[in-house]
């Protein structure tokens, strides 16, 4: 990191690093509620980072994005998830398919991959946030990994939402955010998706008495 970097860029890089760190923390987390909290924290960091970008670049619509992020990712979705966990009586312990150290190792490899892939592109970018594109990709990949390794429906969903965070980070970092219509649309989709998920959880729970996705392995080729 260059010393002559403006403060805003340093801040953004810091926030991005925090997001990546949180992604790792989520990957390593064994408890559902903590996981949701970490997710909320990630949303909050994302919101802050967006605010910094908005402030620095003067892009007005980014304030809206930041607000939306705060509302949706940091408050509403975590709240819904909390409610669900409570209502559905989810066991707080998360069972992973692969043990956590191994997952972490794979995660580190993924970060390397992501940085490598993003490097030639970041160099093309003129934005102050260009360094964070690799981080965004890494967050997406880590969330993907989390979805693969976790056995609970709810953790998969958190992974999925965390992936959205990564995407959002990418959008702000590479291009100062997508056009407003699109942002709104995406937010709406995420919200509806979350609601449908909630409905789903109840249905799954009703059907299987559990949210463990191991029950969802009946459909296959025999």
């Amino acid at each position: 990191m260059n010393a002559d970097m403006p403060l805003s860029a340093q801040l953004i890089n810091l926030f991005a690093s925090v997001i990546l760190l949180l992604a790792f923390a989520m990957l390593a987390q064994r408890r559902v509620l903590t996981l949701i909290n970490l997710f909320a924290l990630q949303g909050l960091t994302l919101c802050l980072s967006t605010l910094v970008v908005a402030f620095t670049t003067g892009q007005a619509h980014l304030y809206w994005s930041a607000a939306l992020t705060l509302l949706l990712k940091a408050l509403l979705l975590p709240w819904i998830l909390h409610q669900l966990v409570r209502k559905l009586n989810v066991k707080s312990e998360i069972e992973a398919l692969i043990n956590i150290p191994a997952t972490m190792l794979v995660g580190i490899v993924l970060v390397m991959v992501a940085f490598n892939v993003a490097l030639p592109i970041s160099e093309l970018s003129q934005t102050i946030t260009r360094g964070t594109l690799g981080i965004a990709l890494a967050v997406v990949l880590l969330a993907f990994l989390m979805m693969i390794t976790r056995q609970k429906a709810i953790t998969q969903v958190v992974g999925f939402l965390s992936m959205e965070n990564g995407l959002f980070l990418a959008a702000t970092s590479a291009t100062y955010g997508m056009p407003m219509v699109v942002e709104l649309g995406i937010a709406l989709d995420v919200l509806i998706g979350a609601i449908i998920l909630g409905v789903f959880f109840f249905q799954i729970r009703e059907q299987f008495d559990s949210l463990d996705i191991r029950h969802l392995e009946k459909l296959k080729e025999r």
Binding site: L97, L110, V113, V117, L141, F144, L145, M147, I148, T149, R150, Q151, Q156, I213, L216, E217, K218, L219, K220, E221
Partner: protein
């Protein structure tokens, strides 16, 4: 001013057939309407098509482009002499079969008559279009339409699992063959993108690509014709189908494959290589031997005939191969000789095999029995069918003076004059091939004697056969038509060769007609009378005259008294119909001599059996050598691949994940 060219007439014929078929759908269960009106109408159209082709033969090609088809490839049609010969075959054979069919269909036998009428006439129309098609798309549409309609006809009585299985196998192999044909067309366009046949003719093919096209066509058309090893559908599908359909398939449809092969190897693929002929001849010989041996050991009369068709197709392939060899070495007279043999055998086989299949149809209707072991003595109850079948049997056995012999004779002449070939190795192979052909012809006689003897002669093996009734008037007319054609083809070879010579000239540039015409019309001497000649009419007349004079003299000089008694049978007390030779017994020598060729499952009775019995099942080795391993391979791969769908969502996500990672790391512009 409206002038109807022959090609228009043929097109109208095809459309009329389609229309007749659709009309059948209007009254699907009205047997009287469909049988007594639509089918005879179809026969008339067949006659029209046949006469048109007859009229056309010798004229210059006509083309037509229809407004249907693909946007950049509308249906191209073309009527040339090669097509005309096969239209002739289609038309005249159809007359007999359709008239027979008019009296054949019964209530409650499988698909409704009207629907069968649709499928049948669709089948006819598509065969006509196959012959007329002049671009790859039209050809493929007609070709697959033919396969499809005949598939539905084969499975008309789909309540039986084995019939369904036969239909499946048939359509599958037909489809695989169609794929090969399509590929062959693709190769022949040489990347020009022009899928009309004219476009293919215009290409200059390198030997490699031409050979590839030829081999693909051989595989594709061979699958339809029943060449080894793609023959397995044939003995299943032919018995399964209603008899007029078996007749149509065996008599006409198999010939369309020969047509395609001729079209590709002489017309489209460029100058033939000498080894093309060797390949065709080798496969043909193997097919012929295989067909005739299996034909001789069958216990089901329609299967027997089906295998006999395989044999005949094999002989046709041999003729084709020989023609290719001669043609590639520029020995055009000999090529013309063997090509004439091929055409002649196509015509002859179409007629006599239809005749025989129709006869089995009559027997089947009269007795509800296909197994040779339960038939016998039908000549007493069904004299019409029996005597007409005898005509077919003699022709099929390749005996003078009927049609089968003429083509065999021409083919053997071709073999005989082969030593002029510049290739020493070929010089050695060809006579051996001739020996095999001779063996096949002789074995065909064995199979045919078995067929006729067991079905029509002897005593009735089952009491129920006493109620068998002879064929009805429609069926008789159909049979007589075909038997008459067989006789005509047998005794008027020069005339017929004069007709088909236009096609020979078209493909080779040389014909036989001028040589044949140089002599009396009853004499067939394709090269010169000193080298070889055959006068079937004199031949027949001599035998008949000798027989009649002999009989008259004996009657005049002696007396004609006759008594009926029980059979003498070496003085043994008469032991009833069960003591007769069975179909299995009759073919025992063949099974024994050619044992390695068959895959036999036998059960011998022992002294401890409460109910001793003997049974033998003859299986096709190709199933075990080729088809079952292939099925196992596909199943194995399928099992491996279905492992992908293991039901775990995490694994599914992993697939996406890995795909992404791999693409990110590997894919670079």
């Amino acid at each position: 001013m409206l002038t109807l060219l022959p090609i228009d007439v043929l097109l109208i014929s095809a459309c009329t057939w389609l229309a007749i078929g659709v009309t059948g759908l209007a009254a699907p269960h009205n047997l009287r309407f469909v049988g007594k009106f639509l089918f005879p109408l179809g026969a008339l159209v067949g006659l029209l098509a046949g006469l048109t082709a007859l009229e056309f033969l010798g004229a210059s090609p006509e083309v037509a482009v229809l407004a249907i088809g693909l946007p950049n490839l509308p249906f191209h049609l073309r009527l040339d002499n090669l097509t005309a010969v096969f239209v002739l075959l289609l038309g005249f054979t159809t007359v007999g079969i359709s008239i027979f069919a008019a009296g054949y269909f019964r209530k409650g036998e499988g698909t409704a008559p009207g629907l069968q009428c649709l499928q049948y006439h669709f089948f006819l129309a598509s065969m006509l279009l196959v012959l007329l098609a002049d671009d790859a798309y039209a050809f493929m549409v007609a070709w697959e339409g033919m396969a499809l309609s005949s598939f539905f006809l084969v499975t008309a009585d789909h309540r039986h699992a084995e019939i369904r299985r036969a239909g499946y196998l048939y359509l599958l192999i037909a489809h695989v063959g169609a794929i090969a044909i399509l590929l062959s067309f693709g190769v022949m366009t040489s990347g020009s993108g022009d899928y009309t046949f004219d476009g293919m003719r215009a290409q200059a093919h390198t030997p490699f690509w031409a050979s590839l096209a030829y081999l693909l066509a051989l595989a594709g058309f061979g699958a339809k014709a029943g060449l080894l090893p793609l023959h397995v559908w044939l003995p299943e599908a032919h018995p399964a189908a209603p008899s007029p359909v078996s007749a149509m398939m065996s008599g006409v449809m198999l010939k369309t494959a020969i047509y395609g092969l001729l079209r590709v190897s002489f017309d489209l693929a460029g100058a033939p290589q000498w080894w093309w002929g060797v390949v065709a001849m080798g496969i043909g010989l193997a097919t012929a031997v295989f067909g005739v041996l299996y034909s001789a050991v069958q216990s089901d009369m329609k299967r027997l005939l089906a295998y006999s068709s395989i044999e005949n197709i094999g002989l046709l392939a041999v003729g084709l191969g020989l023609t290719l060899i001669f043609h590639s070495y520029g020995m055009e007279i000999l090529a013309a000789l063997t090509l004439t043999a091929v055409f002649y055998h196509c015509l002859a086989h179409a007629v006599f095999k239809s005749l025989l299949f129709l006869c089995t149809g009559s027997v089947l209707h009269a007795t509800r029995e296909r197994s040779l072991g339960k038939l016998g003595g039908l000549i007493h109850r069904m004299p019409w069918v029996a005597w007409l079948a005898l005509v077919g049997v003699i022709a099929s056995a390749g005996l003078p003076p009927l049609s089968g012999f003429v083509s065999e004779w021409l083919l053997l002449q071709g073999f005989l004059f082969s030593p002029g070939l510049p290739h020493p190795w070929l010089n050695m192979v060809v006579p051996v091939a001739a020996a095999v052909v001779a063996l096949v012809a002789a074995l065909a006689g064995f199979a045919m004697v078995k067929f006729f003897g067991i079905v029509f002669l002897g005593q009735m093996r089952e009491p129920a056969l006493k109620d068998a009734r002879d064929a009805g008037p429609w069926e008789r007319v159909g049979l007589v038509w075909l038997a008459g054609l067989t006789l005509l083809l047998g005794v008027l070879p020069s005339t017929v060769i004069g007709l088909i010579d236009a096609a020979t000239r078209q493909l080779l540039g040389t014909g036989l007609a001028d040589k044949v015409d140089a002599h009396s019309w009853w004499m067939l001497a394709p090269i010169s009378p000193a080298r070889a000649s055959y006068e079937p009419l004199i031949f027949l007349a001599t035998i008949v005259a000798a027989a009649l004079i002999g009989r008259a003299l004996v009657r005049r000089l002696y007396h004609g008294r006759m008594r009926r008694t029980p059979a003498w049978d070496c003085g043994y007390i008469f032991r009833g119909p069960r003591a007769q030779d069975t179909a299995e017994g009759f073919s025992q020598p063949i099974r024994r001599i050619f044992e390695p060729m068959f895959r036999m499952e036998r059960h011998f009775p022992t002294s401890r059996d409460a109910q001793p019995y003997y049974s033998v099942k003859v299986g096709d080795r190709f199933w075990y050598w080729l088809y079952l391993p292939l099925v196992r391979l596909v199943n194995g791969v399928s099992t491996l691949i279905t492992g992908l769908q293991g039901g775990r969502i995490a694994i599914y996500l992993l697939y996406s994940f890995l795909t992404l990672i791999v693409l990110l790391l590997v894919a670079r512009p």
